[in-house]
């Protein structure tokens, strides 16, 4: 399952917590991908990439992002990114 949202937290002098609805991003990208489909097919043919393998591979990369967690702590601030 592709990630649906991400949480970005910045702790420091000005703490910030952002809840990023990635599902909206996918919904926004979907019509763009469909409109550019002929161009994408041309690129796949030109680069000799098997589209039937590329699409599931790309989907698996996106789905694999779920559970990614990044923490960076410095003396000034701490940054947390978590992808759900």
């Amino acid at each position: 399952m592709i990630p649906l949202f991400a949480i970005l937290e910045v702790h420091g002098r000005r703490p910030v917590t952002l809840w990023l609805p990635l599902f909206l991003l996918w919904l926004l990208l979907l019509p763009i991908v469909l409109v550019l489909l002929p161009f994408e097919l041309f690129v796949l043919l030109f680069a000799r990439i098997d589209g039937w393998r590329a699409l599931p591979a790309l989907w698996n990369v996106l789905a694999g992002l779920r559970g990614t967690h990044v923490e960076i702590s410095t003396p000034q601030r701490q940054i947390f990114i978590h992808v759900h």
């Binding site: 000799r48 393998r53 591979a57 790309l58 694999g64 559970g67 967690h69 990044v70 923490e71 960076i72």
Partner: protein, 146 residues
């Protein structure tokens, strides 16, 4: 029969690897298996994440606090990335290999296969690297699967 050995034989049966490759993988498993121990998969649930932790100690004067980086990446992402890399066109792959070689990394992208990642995950228990940064501070890097 261990889980890893079974996976190797399954890959051989479906033709994903050759007999030579299967033999090398099994030999590597036997060579690195701890005495009296069990394969990682048999010790509990299979690892799901790759974690990289970087810790930098404080400055000698104590003014600067330590910096830490903690990254957890799902192993599914790594596996999917390797499969995606196998779709890279040959001409692009040659360019990437040449660029890596220029930087002093003699890596062949075409040799990166999904079973390589599985073998790496099986062997990666806890890798710890101690280094010094440009200012002489100790930096510890830990890479492990959990």
């Amino acid at each position: 029969m261990s889980e890893h050995r079974r996976q190797i034989l399954e890959m051989l049966s479906v033709g994903k690897i050759t007999a030579d490759e299967a033999e090398r993988l099994i030999a590597a498993l036997e060579k690195d298996a701890p005495s009296g121990g069990a394969p990682v998969a048999a010790n509990g649930p299979a690892p799901k994440y790759l974690r990289v932790m970087v810790e930098q100690e404080k400055d000698r004067d104590g003014d600067t606090l330590a910096k830490t980086v903690n990254i957890r990446v799902p192993l599914q992402l790594l596996r999917a990335g390797v499969r995606l890399a196998s779709l890279v066109p040959p001409q692009a792959r040659h360019s990437v290999d040449a660029a890596l070689k220029e930087k002093g990394v003699p890596f062949d992208l075409s040799q990166l296969k999904p079973e390589n990642i599985e073998e790496l995950i099986a062997q990666l228990k806890d890798v710890s690297i101690d280094a010094d940064d440009a200012k002489g501070r100790k930096v510890k890097v830990r890479v492990f699967c959990e």
